[in-house]
Symmetry: C2
Subunit: 365 residues, 2 copies
């Protein structure tokens, strides 16, 4: 299954899980990329059928395994809470189905490595579901950093927040129903959720070099579940380079990042959702329009901030991710380096989480 | 001397020190405010005379005390390294001369309090030399924060950097001559210098409330002097509010800050130098033109970033500081609340420095 049926037909997807993120990625990603929406798996056949009907999937199953085993399925998008990822990603791989897995990929790096190794052993593609990294401007950004135009990069700053509905702070029942703040299914809370992105941005700027030490402080916890709702942290790299980040469920939507070197800096005020700010609801998911173009702002030396336009082809980043996945399945792109990056991110997240358990004490890597 | 001669004539200044900052503040501040440049004090009469001739001061003295004692001097601007501030500020106060003192005001909060109390006891004005806080947009920013438009503010992020000339990293002699990286005269290095501003910005956003704990890590030291050249840190406030900052001598000029609440955010990409980026040299100091207007960018709720213009009267911030000082001397504005803010900043800096001595361990206030 190295070069699977998708070289003869469009990639055929199953999705495990029927929540918000499944709805978004399926519609903004796979559908726009021209893929086939084949099967939905849920523990509830009613939920599966409702999701399948609403989004135009061919088949609904009342279990995850049935969706995986559907012979018309080439690839499985795992949109479950992270504690379930290892089990189901491995079942996918063993069924010779390619795997797109939501982040955080798993609660521990050991589990992440197990998933990725199993995919390698079974000759199937593995990608984590971080769409922003597949947007062409990320490659352009990395090229800018590596071109030397910014000089020696020694500072990265990244902020990602959105405002969770207030009822998770006022109702224990609401808090337990919101998986983002339910440690039983998402043990690292906002660290694995929003800080995954800020850490990934930082590591992109530093070419996925491991930091020498990190620190993370949980500055807000859900009062009912104890989940981390807001974290700040820093990463220290060799040769006096550093990074700071914040991730929060308690602020208005904000996603500002900046990479600073000794010759220039580059700033993105829309780091993770790109320049098209699109509120996602179940109802509007089919209606997204791609922006005409995206851009980021760069300043060189001691001059003013000047805007530099990067042509990105007008696709939304979820669609770029689906296209990259398709390229990997077809063997035209290699997924292994991206998977190595996934492991680096998780290694750093493990250290950050260890620091958070010790009130922000420095943790060496 | 509560209402001194300046109600009859323009304020008459002495300056102690003849360095870069003296040149800048005298020309961009006092001169543009219409004040009298009366006397220059330096340990070297040659330096004093050269500075006086170049900038149009009436008299040059080969000592600080003579400049203070000049009977035509109403106020003294202390532009010396911070280890000398306590001694000379107190001599000014006892000579009944008003005091404008560069930041950091002194190496310890105890010294800062001693200076301010002595000014109170002698009925003279004390202001620290932080020009950005006298710019009208800071008041507008504070008004915005306190209006509730941003909701509950629970995150502040501030970055301030500039690139020091490379020779302080390659020559011990150059490093020792650059007072910013000479701990004998500026013990806290970049923390008292650039991080003074980021901390002041953070405290402004939180109305000068004391944090409950802080952490600071020195991520770059001068290899010859050991001075802190780059720091990152965070401040934790009650009720899950926090702030992170970075200050560095090793990056390109960058001064991005953001205040985020649960309803909106406000961002300044030119926090400390305002929107007019003006490179300062000895030669160009007389030629600054005020910008027609300044602005900052604010976003509300989940919308796009939208620019909101704040009318600021077209003065540069150094001139606003000189004008505020004049108002305090004339008794039309009260300086004591600003001095209380100075003490809060120094209290936080002391805690940050204590943390830095313990590799970033959390320090309670």
């Amino acid at each position: 299954m190295t070069l699977p049926p998708s070289t003869q037909h469009p990639l055929r997807w199953a999705v495990l899980g029927t929540g918000f993120i499944a709805n978004k990625v399926i519609n903004v990603g796979m559908r726009r990329a021209g893929h086939v929406l084949q099967a939905v798996g849920s523990r509830s056949i009613d939920k599966a059928q409702e999701f399948a009907d609403r989004n135009g999937f061919k088949t609904a199953y009342g279990s995850y395994q049935e969706a995986i085993d559907d012979p018309e399925v080439d690839a499985v998008y795992i949109a479950l809470p992270s504690v379930f990822h290892e089990e189901w990603a491995i079942k996918c791989a063993k069924a010779k189905k390619h795997v797109l897995c939501e982040k955080p990929v798993a609660p521990t790096t050991a589990q992440v490595k197990n998933i990725i190794q199993t995919c390698k052993d079974n000759n199937v593609v593995f990608l984590d579901g971080t769409f922003f990294k597949h947007h062409p401007r990320l490659a352009a950004l990395r090229q800018l950093v590596n071109s030397g135009e910014l000089g020696k990069v020694n500072s990265v700053n990244s902020h990602f927040s959105f405002l969770m509905s207030a009822d998770v702070s006022t109702s224990a029942d609401a808090a337990l129903k919101q998986i983002r703040v339910n440690p039983a299914v998402e043990p690292t809370g906002v660290l694995g959720d929003m800080a995954w992105y800020t850490v990934r941005f930082i590591l992109t700027a530093y070419n996925y070099e491991l930091p020498t030490s990190v620190s993370c402080t949980v500055t807000r916890k859900n009062e009912f579940t104890g989940a981390a709702e807001q974290v700040i942290g820093h990463l220290l790299f060799p040769d006096s380079r550093n990074a700071i980040f914040e991730a929060s469920f308690a602020h208005v939507s904000n996603q500002r990042s900046c990479i600073t070197g000794d010759k220039g800096a580059v700033a993105l005020d829309d780091t993770f959702l790109t320049s098209s700010f699109y509120p996602i609801t179940q109802e509007s998911a089919l209606a997204y329009e791609a922006p005409a173009s995206d851009s980021f702002t760069v300043t060189v030396k001691r001059g003013e901030w000047t805007k530099r336009e990067i042509e990105t082809g007008g696709r939304l980043q979820e669609e770029w991710m689906a296209k990259d996945f398709e390229e990997c399945v077809a063997g035209r792109k290699k997924w292994e380096q991206w998977a190595d990056e996934t492991i680096v991110i998780h290694t750093v997240l493990d250290a950050l989480w260890a620091s958070a358990q010790q009130s922000g004490a420095s943790v060496s890597l």
